[in-house]
């Protein structure tokens, strides 16, 4: 008990020390926001409020932007999921037909995963140019890498037992995949897939801002044009979009009994 207390106080002072050190190093003033609170408040209240009501072409552009963003997230996640499933078979220690493949495939996936979607977007935009297609690829890569890992863990978690029985009956690797792994892991896969859709929807908005198109690009153009009232409307629209999709995935989880 005594030693635990001491540990906590040491930890506390360490955190304070780190905070001070990093503030000095980065040369920023953590209290700036309080000094500028008035400006900040004015910016929000005067510039952003009230949200503008879009009409005609503007309304159409916003709806089209949201639709593009949702489509980009959905298609990227779906394509990534199919590719990830095939790859995950070789990343699983239990089912991989090649003994040494899990190590390499997992290493490769970890490498891809540690680069965020936004960084992929910048890399791809500078080499392939901007556009929805390139944004799609950026989202694909990051969610693919994530799902390879998640699917491989799911496959490893289900008992090896039912795979053994299929092998013992003389089933081939592909037959084991379709009759053993797929039916027993499908729930787990769908659960991860829905999670990835949620993540990708948020990412696709940001990727859109840097050149991927969709609602992100619409928002950026209004922000750059100092049309803050309309920007605020779009931010609200994005929030509603995210909430609605989250509600939908939650509903699907409940209906499919995934929880």
């Amino acid at each position: 008990m005594q030693s635990e207390k001491r540990l906590y106080s040491i930890l506390f002072f360490c955190i304070v020390g780190l905070f001070v050190a990093s503030t000095c190093f980065a040369r920023y003033n953590p209290f700036e926001i309080f000094f500028n609170l008035e400006n900040f408040q004015a910016f929000i209240v005067d510039d952003f409020f009230p949200p503008a009501i879009p009409t005609g072409l503007k309304l159409k552009a916003i709806f089209q932007g949201i639709l593009t963003t949702i489509c980009m997230a959905l298609s990227a996640t779906s394509v990534a999921a199919v590719l990830a499933f095939v790859t995950a078979l070789f990343a699983s220690k239990r089912v991989s037909p090649i003994q040494k493949s899990p190590k390499f495939v997992r290493g490769f996936a970890t490498f891809l995963r540690n680069i965020p979607a936004l960084v992929w977007a910048f890399i791809l935009f500078s080499s392939l140019g901007i556009g929805t297609g390139v944004g799609f690829i950026a989202l694909c890569i990051s969610s693919y890498a994530f799902m390879v890992r998640a699917f491989a863990e799911t496959i490893d978690d289900i008992s090896q037992d039912n795979l053994e029985s299929l092998q013992a009956a003389g089933a081939s690797f592909i037959q084991v995949v379709f009759h053993g792994i797929l039916p027993s892991c499908l729930r787990g896969f769908i659960s991860w897939f829905l999670y990835c859709i949620e993540v990708n929807l948020r990412s696709s908005t940001v990727v859109g801002m840097v050149g991927g198109g969709g609602i992100g690009l619409v928002l950026l153009s209004y922000l750059k044009g100092f049309k803050y009232n309309m920007s605020f409307t779009i931010i609200l629209a994005i929030a509603v979009m995210v909430l609605l999709v989250d509600a939908l995935t939650n509903y699907l989880r409940k209906e499919l009994d995934l929880e």
Partner: protein, 268 residues
């Protein structure tokens, strides 16, 4: 009769130095019902799994149905496995699929190409699965998910899945270890009758010596990977049991060959 299965000086050493099988030689003839007994870790599971090469051996040869199992790979290994039915302690069913689909899995080894991948089983296989499930008393549960059945019912599905393979031998890896005594009796009776009716030899790993005595035509005792007994149940004496389990018979629950001794052991 010609033996269907022969072990010729088979040894299995694992990577960690454990020797699971030591110079094992035996042969199995059609119609035999053989129980393999021995303490945990004595190599019972390894012995069964080396027959269909779920585990490959280190030395020696295993001949099954005229082929050297140790040399088989790929398509020929699959073909060989399709002739060997296997029943597991944990049933090893795919719980999200129906009982009927689980039984039909036994036919996968006979199928190839796109039909095998999509599970487009021939009509006669489905009829056969249905008849087998009737024989197992499970026709009412055909379309239920395998996961919703009780332990004894799951094992009956496991038996049906093995029998539909038209196997030339049945390997049973502790088929009743996870079952209550009455389900265990049902399963053992079913195993014996279905195998006998079709003349399929059975190799059964068992922990229960009394069950082995009651059902087997022959008992093999393993101790630390070596065969220390191979003979008829009648000749399984207390001293042999002590050699198999490495402890005095009085330390074995239900381990004595004589019902009376057993009662006495409990009375004390």
């Amino acid at each position: 009769m010609e033996p269907i299965l022969t072990f010729d000086h088979v040894t299995k050493r694992y990577g960690n130095g454990v020797c699971a099988l030591k110079d094992v030689s035996l042969s199995v003839r059609p119609g035999e019902f053989i129980s393999i007994i021995g303490p945990s870790g004595s190599g019972k599971s390894t012995l069964l799994r080396s027959i269909n090469k779920l585990i490959s051996t280190t030395e020696g040869n295993i001949f099954f149905d005229g082929e050297n199992v140790s040399a088989l790979r790929g398509g020929r290994l699959r073909k060989n496995r399709s002739k060997i039915g296997m029943i597991f302690q944990n049933y090893n069913l795919v719980y999200n699929l129906s009982v009927l689909q689980n039984v039909l899995h036994g036919r996968l080894g006979h199928m190839s190409g796109i039909r095998g991948i999509l599970g487009l089983y021939p009509e006669e296989d489905k009829e056969k699965a249905w008849t087998l499930l009737e024989e197992m008393g499970l026709e009412k549960f055909c379309y239920n998910k395998a996961g919703s059945l009780s332990g004894g019912q799951k094992q009956r599905v496991g038996i049906a899945r093995a029998i539909i393979q038209d196997p030339k031998i049945l390997l049973c890896d502790e088929p009743i270890a996870s079952l209550d005594p009455s389900s265990a009796k049902v399963i053992m009776d079913l195993l014996k009758s279905t195998a006998q009716k079709r003349g399929i030899p059975c190799l059964v790993n068992l922990h229960q010596v009394d069950v082995a005595m009651r059902y087997s035509t022959r008992i093999i005792g393993l101790h630390a990977g070596e065969i220390v007994f191979d003979g008829e149940p009648e000749s399984l004496s207390d001293s042999v049991l002590e050699r198999i389990y490495g402890t005095s018979v009085t330390n074995l629950v239900a381990g004595t060959s004589d019902e009376k001794d057993w009662q006495q052991a409990y009375a004390v």
